[in-house]
């Protein structure tokens, strides 16, 4: 994989970002990712099964995630696990920063209240 700066993949789609967030907790298989994302954002993002897998495909192409060798639990061995790559981690970080920056800007314009300390 040739070197690419993390900024090259930005901005991420909300779903992609959610997938990266879910994988930060540990390697997961597709349905687990789907559940985890759904639990977090149910009702906010349209969660179609195909959308998740297409987002996974894009993330793989970009090299943000990768197949994982680990087989957790006593699950079906045909099930594929995915892990976040180092590149994916830095992209996710960059995306989080970008979002935080946007939120800060919204706060500066009093769109949101100041965070509680």
């Amino acid at each position: 994989m040739p070197f690419r700066p993390p900024g090259a993949s930005l901005p991420l789609t909300p779903i992609s970002f959610e997938i990266l967030l879910a994988l930060l907790d540990g390697d997961r298989h597709g349905y687990a990712i789907l559940q985890s994302v759904e639990n977090r954002v149910a009702g906010v993002l349209p969660m179609r099964t195909g959308t998740i897998y297409r987002a996974l495909a894009r993330l793989m192409e970009e090299g943000l995630i990768d197949r994982s060798a680990s087989v957790a639990e006593a699950d079906d061995e045909r099930r594929r696990y995915y892990r976040i790559t180092a590149h994916g981690r830095s992209v996710a970080r960059a995306e989080a920063r970008r979002l935080a920056d946007q939120v800060d800007a919204a706060r500066a314009r009093r769109l949101l209240p100041e965070p509680r300390r």
Partner: protein
Amino acid sequence: MTPCHHRASTGRQVWRAVHWLALRAYPVWFRREFGDELQRSSERRLAAAWSQSRRLALWLAALEVADALAFGLAERWRLVATWWAWPRHIEPFRHVRSRRMTWESIAADLRLALRQCRRAPLFALLTVASLALGIGANSAMFGVVHAVLLRPLPYGEPDSLVTVWSDNSKRGEPLNPVSPANFEAFRAAPSLADVEAMYSFLVPVQYRMGSEPENAQASMVTPGMFALLGRDAVAGRTFREGDPDLSAVLSHQFWRRRFGQDPNVVGRTVNVTGESAPVTILGVMPEDFVFPYKSMLGPSGFTRALEADVWLPLTRQREPRLVDATGQPNRNLHYLAVVGRLKPGVSLERARMDLSAIATRRAAEFADTNAGWGVTVRPLHEQTVGSLRPALLMLLGGVGVVLLITCINVANVLLARAAGRGRDLAIRSALGASRRRLVQQMLIESLVLAAAGGAGGLALMVFATRAILAVAPTTLPRLAEVSPGVPVVLFAMAVSILTGLAVGTLPAVAAARSPAQDALREGSRATASRARRRIRAALIVAEVAMAMTLTIGAGLLLRSFVSVLGVDPGFQSDRLLTLQVSMPSRYADAASRVTFYDELEARLRAVPGVVHVGGTTRLPLGSTNVTTTIEVEGGGLPRAEWPEVEMRRAVFDYFATMGIPLVRGRTFTAADGIGAPLVVVVNTAFAERLFPGADPVGRRVRMGGTGTGPWLTIVGVAGSIRHGSLEEMPKPELYTTYRQGPPVSPFLAIRTRGDAGALTAAVRQVIRDAGADPPTELRTMEDIRSRSVGERRFVLLLAGLFGALALVLAALGVYGVITLVTAERTMEVGIRLALGATPSQVLGLVIGHAVRLAVGGILLGGATALLLAPVLQSQLFGVQATDPLTYGGVAALLAAIAVCAALVPARRAMRVDPAHTLRN
């Protein structure tokens, strides 16, 4: 388990199957990576939804299937849209290997193929150029075949149109024009929806718009003809029953040429020479409407004019010959070309039976005129272009063979390159590329070459089409309709793909078959395997064979052409100027016309350089024929068997001018005038046919077939000349003299001392001085004779071109392969030389190899030509399709070419330095 559970599990299975099918919308790599997971996840979500609400679950089930389809297609589209940017996208899926062709592998092979082309640009350029030549020539030829043979005629539902002819089976003439009475009878045929007729020839008409009279060609059609053909006027209208007789419909071309596309032309009147009142223009036909095509007029309808400018109504009022003296439809004059339309669902066979029944009935009813006359029904399309079909298909086959030879050459080079790349392929194969994958790679490479060739061929086709049209004689029907349209482009594309497959298959299979270890072990020595050598030899033999067959065909056509040109037409065609004059309308009676002609003759004779002046109503080799039925005094034949002979009027000293020898008796003299006994001169064919073994001079005949005309005495027998074409045997013919019936617009023939064309201006001036309308159709007889062989020349030109191309390509093929073989055998040659072989022995070795290949091809090609001989025979004249001279000549030519092609590599082999070779 409860029934409910049962239902649920059946439903699940059904859904799973449907969803599995819908998932096929995804590209294969996506399915392999995520397919199982995706289905399982969807199933789980459905199960979760089912526990909440069954309706929601059903909705979700449908949604999942729809999503699979939509997203799958979206993923596929993504592949298509971004294929050029591939590596980045397929990176994570490298390990996914499909047994089938995938977009990824095709894209990779495409890039590889383009890289190969860049690496060897000269090879790519030459290959693409030769393929472009082959594909372009084929497409252009197909364009002609399509326009002439395949495209429907420009009429409504043309497939149900037929032509009807009277079949004179006794004389073996199936395509005679129809008599007015028979035409009326044919109209009653139950299987025909409509039957119309026209003159089986075009009529020249002279009309006057300004001061100068102008000429046009008219077709006389029954008023319902346009409705029968299913075409209407583009401006104004066509004929209707009850129209005034003096009306006309214009062709689009004539309207543009003479009326400048004036939209107000409809309703205008034009003065026509010989008509009592002005003629009203009813309408203008559409641009694509051509009727009749020359060939629709039957064998006698050979006119110099190629198409009708105007259509005039053929009605009883206008055309008195439609009825005889008793007012009944005329049974004895055959001069109508009949067109009919089959009723829907009625077969041609059925119509044939119907019309034959009518003919049989009439033969019994009117034995005196109709006995022995049957009927011939042909599809109109067949009538129009059928005679061209063999020649055009032959040419298409010939140009196809040229492309095949090109393919063989390209395949051979690809094969050699594949051998050179054996190591590369072996390594790829050792690294896990499947054979299928290697074949695919080679095929895609050749398809890329063929696609480029096809693109070049399309461009070339435009020029090739123009070139073909430029050399084609204008007498070929429908040639004006040739244009490279969609079908031609589709054909070119199909040919390109087939070419790519044909060129690529052999090298691909050879590449796949070569065992990997061998190629790796062979190392840098690029030696072809035995199998590959055999394939190569077989290809060359096939190539030489095809060149042999094609060249034999061209050679036979050439010999035919030479024999046609060598035919003695029965007259001397050199130093002869011909033209058509029109009698001014002020000379109304026969006597004043004769006086006018005699004055004209005197003036023409006075022109310096003029030797003889003659004339006739129909010139040989390129004008219409007029026939008449004759009764021989004391012949004792029933009226239906009275012979039909060609008839011409001789003007001035026609026989001496044309150089037609007088065999017996005398020609016409000034004494054979009006009031003197009526006399005729007949040709030798007439004498032999009607008076076999007897002297016809002094016998009497009567014309017209009515048995009422005056008797004419035969005073002389002249030599027979070829009228219809050089290839047609002379027919019985009689001449009358202009002094006993002066024609209105005869052709004149002027025998000159020097070049006939040089007198054109002087003759034109003399005719104007004599007070006649300006002459038309000024041509030398040599020109007419040359035009009469135009179609043969055209076919020969193309066939000769294809034959020459085939020879050059075969020479290139032999050269290429012998070069390759000698390069491979350098080591062997070196050893031989080191062991004491002389360079001339080496030369013999190489040339012997080439000759062996050539002889194989020559034998095979000769045998093929012999097999095809019966097909070709119909196109030949004066030479047998098995002509040994042609076969031998072409064989010797090919052998010589093979030797020459082998000489260059052979000389190179002679100069091999054994020490140098052995050291390496």
